[in-house]
Symmetry: C2
Subunit: 170 residues, 2 copies
DNA sequence: CTCCCCATGTAACTGGTTACATGATTCA
DNA sequence: TGAATCATGTAACCAGTTACATGGGGAG
């Protein structure tokens, strides 16, 4: 019956691959660990958990926590191997910048300032996570890789901002 | 009555700021000009046009093409000045990379290969647009700025890919 | 005893896509 | 005359968020 692929399903199964936990914990885990590149809301997580359980991909242990079954682990591997579905680009900053003439010098300046603040905040957050990771005992390999991706992105943004300011002379 | 801000509304009004055109043209314009950082579908554009017309922000000229009214121009400026609404991050590549242990070496390699191909294709596309722009007479200033943003992003992705391959030794 | 956190869930809404239906115009 | 493109629209669907409702358990 070729179930539709679901990114939420992948995130939930992935979270549970770290061990049994409640739905509430799943969400907290996603928020704190995947938070800088992924989000899920309660409204998504609970229905997904019900569905996964009905499908036999997860089950509840004696404490009521959800845990992966063997089919669930297979399903996780299967989903990981599917190509990520491309997100249609929707960049609000560029949309505004593109109409820079209508936006005016003040608007352009503010846009860049806010974006810069965001990118710097992002770098600070990621630096914080790095520190935390160092003092933990989990396999940090893949965490570090995703953090680095965020850092590359943020630095690219900062470079572009500097270049754009120079080009505009605002 | 504090209308809800709409990004689609902004894109449509912005497109019409280049001159009167049909809804079909609006979409083609968005596709070809904003395409590398923005998307809109017919299902969004036509209802938006009706609403904008009902609100008096646009009107139709003798050829039936839509054009901005004065209030429409004001509204565009107003929307441009609103801060871009932050998109919740949902990065399918990082989601998969994060579970790299489950994904396996083959999966990781394929993920990076595909992403690299995409980033290179993106750079090629942007280079193509640059060439086209050079031979056009429109104000290219802000187009170039958005293109550069795309290039910075794509290069950051490539850097990260190289770094990640080295770190993984896959 | 009260407040906060853990925990589960659902209903309403929103923003958006896809697929379909329809028809005019242009051009080979 | 038939295909491609221009043009307008809508219905069905989908993913996801927000807000709300509910209640247990522990800490101060």
């Amino acid at each position: 019956m070729t179930r539709r692929t679901s990114q939420t399903e992948l995130a939930v199964l992935g979270a549970l691959s770290f061990g049994p936990m409640s739905g509430y914990r799943v969400r907290a885990e996603i928020l704190s660990t995947l938070g800088h590149f992924w989000t899920e809301s309660f409204g998504q997580i609970y229905p997904t958990l019900s569905r996964l359980k009905a499908d036999g991909l997860i089950e509840t242990d004696e404490d009521g926590r959800f845990m992966l079954t063997d089919p669930g682990t297979s399903r996780l591997r299967e989903l990981l191997a599917t190509p990520p579905e491309p997100v249609p680009p929707r960049n609000g900053v560029l949309l505004r910048m593109f109409f820079g003439r209508e936006l005016g010098a003040d608007g352009r300046r503010e846009l860049l300032d806010q974006l810069e603040a965001q990118a710097r905040a992002q770098l600070a957050t990621l630096a914080g996570i790095r520190v935390q990771l160092d003092s933990s005992d989990v396999d940090e390999r893949y965490s570090l890789i995703t953090i680095s991706a965020g850092e590359h992105g943020a630095r690219a943004t900062l470079d572009w901002i500097a270049e754009t300011r120079a080009a505009l002379g605002d």
